[in-house]
Amino acid sequence: MSGELLRAEGIGKRFGGFVALEDITLSFAAGQLTSIIGPNGAGKSTFFNILSGALTPTSGKLHFRGRALNGLPQHRFVHQGISRSYQITNIFPDLSVHENVRVAAQALTVSYDIWRNRARLTELNTRADSALDAVGLLAKRNELAKFLSHGQQRALEIAIALVSEPELLLLDEPTAGMGPEETKDMVALLERLADKRTVLLVEHKMKMVLGLSKRVVVLHHGRLLADGAPYEIRSNPDVRRVYLGQSEGYG
């Protein structure tokens, strides 16, 4: 495939005797939004954790821009260009909104500098502000992150992931726990993001996924069940049986 960004080859993951993922081989092209769906326990989160380095696969290989990622510690994944958000909001609650993003921007350049004054690293401040602007949170920059609404915290987490200018953005259920209004805002944000970069999305809300994605990957019991354009997925009998049938109209 031309413009391939990420390739997973025979990825498997076991937890003791439990097989969470088995033999997942997928290739992701640069510049499109792909959704990963599947019923609870399908292995979506495990797959995501492997792609972001939080878990090491029991078998298989990951290639990112032609470079093997196996054995790399999690904190190096961001430096390779892979950044993520979490299913459960994962921010720095007692830091200001601006500092949440600024500290994420800083990770790529300075980590152990104990000498310079960080307020003078203006380039990082500017980058943090433009990431906040991109998710519509610039006006809230001086508030403590814990005082933001749920939807704003989800958006902040995306700004945190975004500020490292990742080539691959992994978003784990960005609309989890959101009401319809907040979901609408988030979908608009995702559409804007997908214009410019490669996004992998784990989502439960079916209509949203089928509307947003160029491609949908379906996992079931840790195995790859289907892979294709949204209209193909919608009419795929296997998918209808295990997933869509029980939750169409959901979300």
Partner: protein
């Protein structure tokens, strides 16, 4: 909506009046400490506030700012004192060289203890630091030919020091106080720099959310080791000051009770505040002074007050005060 430039937004967020004065935290702290000998009942008490203030300030970097509850900080306090005493008494090193040597050696010790302990988390971290610090205590107890064992380290006295060609009588309590205040000022300046630095942001991120910090691209384990060493270095400077002050090093300062006292002091004063450690050290030592006048069981009362603080003033005296006058949030 026009987007404000970050300069404008920053200007809007800059604290005014009182907050602006508090931006010069190092100078302010030194100014307060300079008055201390004249405010407290004795010069000896004031010197102790300086010494413990520095030790607790170093600990605050680890506990308050990074969120790592160590029960072994006495190891670095003691190491600073012992290394200073041994360098002066045994090897005849002049005092001004003995102090940096002692700080460097103590930082090395912090690296050793840190490599082991920062791999663990939560209660395990607390227990490992406690155990390793006790190990240091027993080494000091057993290596009596170096350390004087149970009797403590003796045989080094700094009575006259020359400062920029000026001979100063170091036995005079006022002179002693202001010389040691110079060290405290240096430690405060160093700590303030760390807190303002990019690394200062990393440790706060780790305290707030370790998993997110790692996902942002920080090597959490290595950062913890670095802050453990910095914290040990600053606390060990307090030990150097103690050695110069007492001209003996009591074995007790390595004991885990000292570590516990350091934890109490930081909580009394206010973890995560810059001047809180000095307030905590002063309150604890004054309390001990006052209560022990009328009962030998002073620890019961200090303990009770400590419990009240943990329950009702979790930000400590200084942290609560800053909140009350409305600059607490800006400070953090």
């Amino acid at each position: 909506m026009t987007r404000p430039s970050s300069g404008e937004v920053l200007a809007k967020s800059a604290p005014s009046g009182l907050g602006r004065i508090l931006d010069h935290r190092v100078l302010l702290s030194i100014a307060v400490l300079a008055l201390l000998p004249w405010l407290l009942p004795s010069k000896a008490l004031a010197v102790n506030v300086l010494i413990y203030g520095v030790v607790v300030m170093g600990y605050n970097l680890l506990f308050g700012y990074t969120g790592l509850l160590s029960f072994g900080q006495a190891a670095f306090f003691g190491a600073g004192a012992y290394f200073t005493g041994i360098a002066i008494g045994r090897y005849g090193v002049p005092w001004f060289a003995a102090v940096p040597i002692a700080v460097l050696l103590s930082t090395g010790l912090a690296a050793l203890i840190g490599v082991v302990s920062t791999r663990t988390r939560g209660i395990y971290f607390s227990m490992v630091t406690l155990a390793l610090a006790q190990l240091v205590y027993y080494v000091a107890l057993q290596a009596a030919s170096f350390t004087g064992g149970e009797n403590g380290l003796r045989g080094f006295t700094v009575d006259r020091i020359s400062l920029f060609g000026l001979q100063v009588n170091f036995l005079d309590p006022v002179n002693k106080y202001y010389v040691l205040m110079g060290f405290a000022g240096l430690a405060m300046w160093f700590q303030s720099r760390i807190l303002n630095s990019p690394f200062g942001a990393v440790i706060e991120a780790i305290r707030e959310n370790e998993q997110r910090a790692r996902a942002c691209g920080y090597d959490v384990e290595r950062s913890k080791l670095v802050v453990f060493m910095l914290s040990g270095a600053i606390s060990s400077l307090g030990g150097c000051m103690l050695a110069l002050h007492l001209s003996i090093v009591p074995l007790d300062i390595l004991h885990y009770q000292t570590s516990g006292m350091i934890v109490m002091m930081v909580l009394l004063g206010g973890a995560r505040s810059f001047f809180g450690p000095f307030v905590g050290a002063a309150s604890f030592l004054i309390l001990e002074d006052v209560v022990s006048l009328w009962t030998p069981h002073w620890q019961i009362f200090v303990g009770a007050i400590f419990v009240l603080f943990v329950l009702f003033l979790p930000k400590g005296i200084w942290g609560t005060l800053l909140d009350a006058i409305g600059v607490g949030k800006a400070r953090q």
